[in-house]
């Protein structure tokens, strides 16, 4: 298939996944804000959202203070924020439109309708009226997009590039979420050793990745941070864990391998092995933050490697 087509497909699925993950994190922050908490904790929770996307300075130039209303406006509807759900869905739709011929009619129409309806929802004030319902809707449209992709697309190269985009983006998002949530927590526990608050904190983290019920099922135990980390990093059967995402990336990359892609494949394979044979006590002993930092750098490199091997035409093609 055309390299440019693969590029659009890859980014189409990345942007959808990013919109979903942003909606997930916003929803949890919003739900949490409805519980009794100090003004400081509330601000901290909203601030961490902006930090996850590394958008603090852009946010600072546009909004005087950190509060739920502003952060939601910034992360959902702000056209100046390239990572806002608005811009993610727009970019997803633009990428899909550029290659609508490589998608099934159902996949394209699902995306197109998502975009048209999202704009309508924003115009009608859905974000101020019922933020949770809007976040649910974004998640649901992402589910629909994924379902219609898996349910209608021929499992050819186009399909594999779509999947690679989804899992790469999800791995990146889960790692960022963990990093921010653990970092904040590490700096925080000494001042407030309140077990009940801990419970709400970690259960919110789990819920943001649909992991609360899974945690109970897997561990049948009280919620402990190291187990939360284990679930989201190492469990191969947890669909949003780093291990699962990397395994799926590897499987899809193998299907599209070409003579240039050996090195990229090797590095995904190595990363997969690290996660498959890793232990959470080892990771925590060397420090979660350095581990996640390294992981995010590796994922960034993989994205660049995939672009080089498949998407951006290699210069040797041009006479």
């Amino acid at each position: 298939m055309l390299s440019r087509t693969a590029d659009h497909l890859f980014w189409f699925s990345r942007y959808i996944e990013r919109a979903e993950n942003t909606a997930r994190m916003l929803d949890i922050a919003y739900q949490t804000s409805l519980q009794p908490q100090s003004a400081e904790a509330s601000e901290q929770s909203w601030r961490s959202l902006v930090s996850i996307s590394e958008l603090n300075s852009l946010y600072g130039t546009k909004y005087p203070a950190i509060n739920g209303r502003s952060v939601m406006a910034f992360m959902v509807a702000d056209e100046a924020n390239a990572s806002s759900i608005y811009n993610c869905l727009r970019a997803a739709r633009e990428n899909a439109r550029a290659v609508r011929g490589s998608l099934t009619t159902e996949v394209w129409e699902t995306m197109n309708q998502t975009w048209l309806e999202f704009c309508k929802l924003l115009r009608e004030g859905a974000l101020t009226r019922d933020p949770s319902a809007l976040f649910e809707w974004v998640k649901y449209r992402s589910h629909l997009s994924r379902g219609v992709t898996v349910g209608t697309m021929l499992q050819d190269e186009a399909f594999h590039f779509l999947r690679i985009g989804s899992f790469l983006e999800r791995a990146d998002n889960t790692a960022r979420l963990l990093d921010v949530k653990f970092y904040r927590h590490e700096g925080d526990t000494s001042t407030d050793p309140d077990a009940a608050r801990d419970f709400y904190y970690w259960s919110a983290v789990l819920r943001s990745v649909s992991g609360f019920e899974i945690y109970r099922k897997v561990y049948s135990n009280v919620i402990q941070p190291d187990k939360v980390a284990e679930l989201l990093i190492l469990r191969p059967d947890m669909p949003r864990s780093l291990s699962h995402c990397v395994t799926r990336m590897l499987a899809n990359l193998r299907r599209v391998a070409n003579p240039q892609s050996g090195e990229t494949l090797r590095r995904v394979g190595r990363l997969e092995a690290e996660l498959a044979f890793g232990r959470i006590d080892e990771i925590l002993a060397t420090g979660l933050h350095p581990f996640l930092d390294g992981f995010l750098a590796e994922v960034g490199d993989l994205g660049a490697g995939i672009s080089r091997d498949f998407l951006v035409p290699s210069t040797s093609d041009t006479p």
């Binding site: 055309l2 633009e94 290659v99 197109n112 309708q113 048209l116």
Partner: protein, 493 residues
């Protein structure tokens, strides 16, 4: 002004004031035979149902993304992409009329292809004095690069869109005329196909009641045609559609045709030339391309030969093309045959190349470089439309009946100073078709663009794209200026 020929109602001229009232008046004693069943059906439909269906159609077109791009607006989801208004009332053509039109189209396009070949080879028609040599050699559309270049099968315009209008005679009959040939990159065929799909979705019962000739196989015919003009020796040619990109106003059509044919939709940046051949960049390395259905003007094809600033084309493409390593469809230089200055000579071309009488008529045209035609034109300026031969978009044009005496006299002076620069035509009264507008059902002017495919043989699907001027009295059917489209039914006997 003559009475406009109404496609549905023979008596429309007498009863036009009544027709505007609502749907009930659509049927009646004056309904033409091929519209009878439809008019009966229409009379039974409450207006509310038609309004509902129209809204439904709009929603579906939006969801499917059948839109054309408009520049400059802020993107609010609907801002930069507009729908082309779709009218619910079909334009119906009886079988016999289509049979004759089809023969006329094949004849005309065949002669035009022979003409282009001749212009770039022996120029026999110039030597014979049928088309003045300076009309060709000094024409901006003439491409000297194409002299002596052989193209597969000698076919240049593989996809032609011929614009046809019908004008009414005083006796109430109507006659088809060719208004314009589009031999470069004619567009609109996707609307023909989508309009049909929409009608079948909205009004399935009509397709049970009528025997309507299908059009959905157009992409098959197109692919067949493109494959048949591959460079010699290529047994399983790779065909691609070349688009200027997703911000082009006809992008939907490019993507649609590529998808329907199952071929790659490429942009200039996806192509490169190596060792004389054209390749596209794929995830598995370079892949050779044999036939390019390009939806890009000549000027943008190759920055080495035409516009150097073009980002849309592919450097070296023209050399590969001239060497016969790749087929461009349509060929370079077809504009020489659809220029306004050449149009008056098409009937003579048909006689010259095919030895046949033209089946489809031109709009009567006075070529002012001709002494007699000039004399006639000068004597009838207030009745004629006079056009600059290379002008476009209504610039440099005199509409006699609408002009003041002073304007006519000013134009007369220009015309006498440079007669070769002008042609003149009578003001035609374009036919109308009942159309569902805000006030109800009312007559609106229409034209027809059939698409003619030429490869190893000439193929077409019955009908074409009917465009309609939605403003009362307007003759402008262009989508950029408030025109809409209708489904076009060719009835089978």
């Amino acid at each position: 002004m003559q009475t406009p020929f109404d496609e549905m109602n023979a008596l429309a001229a007498q009863s036009q004031s009544q027709v505007q009232g609502g749907s009930r008046q659509a049927s009646g004693p004056g309904v033409r035979a091929h519209y009878e069943a439809y008019a009966r059906w229409l009379a039974e439909q409450p207006e509310s149902l038609m309004r509902e269906r129209r809204e439904q159609a709009e929603l579906i077109f939006r969801r499917v993304g059948i839109t054309f791009a408009v520049y400059g607006d802020k993107d609010s989801g609907e801002g930069t992409e507009r729908l082309i208004p779709f009218d619910l009332i079909p334009r119906v053509i009886p079988a016999a009329e289509w049979t004759s039109m089809q023969a006329g189209l094949a004849q005309r396009v065949t002669a035009l292809n022979r003409f282009i070949h001749d212009v770039y080879h022996g120029q026999e028609i110039l030597k014979a004095g049928i088309v003045p040599a300076d009309e060709i050699l000094n024409n901006a559309q003439f491409r000297p690069e194409m002299m002596g270049v052989d193209v597969p099968g000698g076919v240049y315009s593989h996809i032609a869109g011929v614009d046809i209008v019908r004008a009414g005679h005083a006796d109430g009959s109507g006659q088809y005329y060719v208004l314009e040939d589009n031999l470069r990159v004619p567009s609109g065929v996707s609307y023909m196909l989508e309009n049909r799909k929409m009608m079948m979705r909205l009004f399935p019962e009509l397709f049970v009641q009528h025997r309507i000739a299908p059009v959905a196989h157009y992409p098959d015919l197109l692919l067949d045609t493109l494959r048949s003009v591959a460079p010699p020796g290529v047994s399983d040619p790779t065909v691609v559609v070349l688009t200027p990109g997703m911000y082009n106003s006809a992008y939907f059509e490019h993507a649609f045709l590529a998808q329907q044919m199952g071929v790659e939709l490429v942009e200039g940046q996806d192509l490169f030339v190596d060792g004389g051949f054209v390749y596209m960049r794929t995830t598995r390395g370079p892949r050779r391309v044999d036939v390019i259905y390009r939806r890009l003007d000549d000027d943008f094809l190759d920055p080495k030969v035409f516009r150097a600033d073009s980002q849309l084309g592919c450097a070296g493409l023209v050399d590969a093309y001239k060497a016969g390593k790749v087929t461009l469809s349509n060929a370079i230089g077809t504009g020489i045959a659809d220029d306004k200055s050449i149009y008056p000579y098409v009937p003579k071309m048909i006689e010259f190349y095919l030895g046949e009488k033209p089946i489809l008529q031109n709009v009567p045209t006075y070529v002012c470089r001709d002494k007699d035609d000039l004399a006639y034109t000068l004597a009838h300026l207030s009745e004629l439309v006079v056009k600059e031969v290379h002008g476009a978009g209504g610039y440099g044009m005199l509409v006699g009946p609408a002009a003041t005496k002073a304007e006519v006299e000013a134009f007369r002076a220009q015309l006498i100073a440079n007669p070769s620069n002008y042609i003149a035509q009578p003001t035609l009264s374009l036919s109308t078709c009942p159309t569902f507008v805000e006030s109800g059902i009312a007559p609106r002017h229409i034209d027809l663009r059939p698409f003619v495919l030429s490869g190893d043989t000439v193929r077409m699907v019955p009908g074409g794209l009917t465009r309609v001027a939605l403003k009362a009295g307007s003759l402008v059917v262009n989508s950029s200026q408030g025109g809409g489209t209708k489904d076009t039914w060719v009835l089978e006997d």
